[in-house]
């Protein structure tokens, strides 16, 4: 039963839970919160199970309404999509577990129901993008996640609404570009099913119209994943949004768009034509590399921690783009591994800022001082761990994605990339140690013990800590993940 319906279950679970929210809110005040994180946990379990199942027994294809694929909509669960489903479920479960009080604070206590409904719809959109095998269906889920995303990102302060509105405009352009691309493909191939389109395009190669379609699709998804020149919506949004929303969207949103790019780029579009005629991979690689450096440099210039993390996201997306652009097994492994690593790292870091905000501490780096270490030891330790992982020091998770990317760049003989990765790690070190120095060194200027306000709720420090510790686990378990799950999903190069 589960195996058969596996591709549909995470999406349906999220959708139904979201739709049930108005009812749940009637039954109990804390129920939306509990349902949402438990639901995410269930999705993570489904993803993990599916990962295990599909990597041993091959992908599962699911025809919606039992209409065979070119006619009906098809969902696909293969190791890659299950991997992403797992990442979505696992990361969001802890973010949502953490979220209860910050949501009430940032979005108003009477809004928890709509907030959690939107959050679940956001996640439903994400898992839909990941699970679908149909180009237009992907657009629908892209828009579900986008709408829910504008809501959760814009529900805080008026500033949040403003940046969310700007994001809405740019995000709609992205989604519409994608839709135009799909339309062109439909006109040229007559099909919307990914596997079908793949077969047809491989037979025919690229014509001018399909080339334009590729460009539209790539630009559209590039906007969604905030690839370097299309990234400028991101810092404002992440900085102004409520803490929980950022922690939910930042680790997952751009990754899911990257997933779509990975899927469509590697599997749907004809690889040879993309690589040789259009040089798409080279372009993405170059943009990724520039994004890495640019994001890191901008991050150094920021004083607001959230803004710094946002720019750092731009850089980290660059890593994923580089792995994608390398178009080699190592690059692919690096990119996929970095997706999960970065998701956990960023979630952890944004939860740290959420904790800071919750305790009434500012998120300005200049305002940090060593008294925090005493007031919030767990939070500070988590920040340190995630920061070390971001810098890419072994044996934290971040090191290993870098390792595979380096392997990939050597394989391609691309020296510039090696330099870029090395330099960016140093830049990462610069902006993270700036914060660490303030947290761990210098005089404890805080007031006496008793004067500090209430302690951080246990769930908050707990979920931050779980994410931080899983970075270590991901670091040590990377071989297991790579050999067991990522290697079977390698596309033919």
């Amino acid at each position: 039963m589960i195996g058969e319906h596996l591709p549909a279950l995470p999406i349906l679970l999220y959708l139904f839970l979201a739709l049930l929210m108005p009812l749940a809110a009637k039954l109990g005040r804390g129920l939306p919160w509990a349902i949402s994180w438990l639901g995410s946990l269930a999705v993570a379990a489904l993803g993990a199970w599916g990962l295990w199942h599909t990597s041993t027994e091959g992908p599962i294809r699911y025809a919606m309404g039992s209409w065979a694929p070119p006619v009906g909509i098809e969902l696909v669960a293969d190791p890659l999509s299950c991997f992403f489903t797992f990442a979505i479920g696992a990361v969001s479960a802890f973010v949502l577990l953490h979220s209860r009080e910050s949501v009430e604070r940032d979005c108003g206590a009477s809004n928890t129901m709509t907030y959690y409904a939107s959050a679940l719809l956001l996640l439903a959109g994400f898992s839909g993008i990941v699970g679908t095998g149909d180009l237009f269906n992907l657009y629908v889920f892209l828009e579900i996640s986008a709408l829910a995303g504008y809501a959760v990102l814009g529900c805080g302060s008026a500033k949040a609404s403003l940046s969310s509105f700007r994001y809405l405009i740019i995000g709609t352009i992205g989604a519409s570009f994608y839709l135009i691309g799909v339309g062109l493909l439909l006109a040229k191939t007559g099909s919307l099913n990914m596997a079908d389109v793949t077969a047809i395009l491989h037979l025919e190669g690229l014509s001018p119209a399909t080339t334009l379609a590729v460009v539209f699709i790539l630009v559209g998804l590039g906007i969604k994943m905030a690839l370097m020149p299309l990234h400028y919506w991101l810092p404002d949004v992440y900085t102004n949004a409520p803490a929980t929303s950022t922690a939910l969207v930042a680790p997952l949103g751009t990754k899911v768009a990257a997933y779509a790019l990975l899927r469509i780029g590697y599997e749907v579009l004809p690889y040879e034509a993309l690589a040789l005629d259009l040089r798409v991979f080279d372009v993405v690689l170059a943009l990724g590399a520039v994004g890495i450096i640019w994001g890191s440099v901008m991050a150094i210039a920021q004083d607001n921690i959230k803004r710094m993390l946002a720019y750092s996201s731009v850089a980290q997306i660059g890593y994923i783009a580089v792995g994608f652009g390398l178009a080699t097994p190592y690059g692919y492994i690096g990119a996929v591994l970095h997706v999960i690593n970065h998701a956990v790292m960023k979630a952890c870091l944004f939860l740290v800022t959420a904790n800071l905000e919750h305790r009434g501490e500012g998120v300005s780096i200049k305002g940090l001082n060593a008294s925090l270490r005493r007031k919030m030891p767990v939070t500070c330790a988590c920040f340190a761990m995630a920061a070390i992982s971001m810098i890419g020091l072994p044996p934290m998770a971040g090191f290993f994605s870098k390792w595979y990317l380096l392997l990939g760049s050597y394989e391609q003989g691309s020296w510039i990339l090696v330099v870029v990765i090395v330099v960016s790690s140093l830049l990462n070190a610069v902006y993270f140690f700036r914060v660490l120095e303030r947290l761990y060194l210098g005089k404890d200027e805080g007031e006496a013990e008793g004067a500090s306000p209430s302690r951080l709720p246990t769930v908050m420090s707990f979920s931050t800590l779980v994410l931080a510790l899983s970075l270590l686990a991901l670091g040590f378990g990377n071989v297991f993940i790579v050999s067991k799950f990522i290697s079977p999903m390698l596309p033919g190069f």
Partner: protein, 84 residues
């Protein structure tokens, strides 16, 4: 742009891939299949309705959810902040 437009099937072309009976790799083309079998499958005259609600019902479910999401979003953004 003209170059690209030329590559598209002409307007109203019955031979366009979208309207073919089957695609180049032999899979049935969805559009033609819908026309031919919708009445047989669902006993409904309006083909678009069948496509919308049956063959691609999941899209429509998604569409309904989008509407719901918009409602939730508007409420979330504008309601309940009188105290701030």
């Amino acid at each position: 742009m003209l170059y690209v437009v030329r590559d598209l099937p002409p307007r109203g072309d019955v031979e366009a891939p979208l309207h073919a009976k089957s695609s180049e790799v032999g899979s049935p083309a969805a559009g033609t299949y819908y026309i031919e079998s919708s009445y047989k499958d669902a006993g409904t005259d309006n083909i678009v309705t069948v496509v919308l609600a049956d063959y691609r019902g999941f899209d429509t479910f998604g569409e309904t959810v989008v509407v719901f999401a918009a409602g939730a979003a508007c409420l979330l953004i504008l309601r309940g902040r009188r105290r701030s």
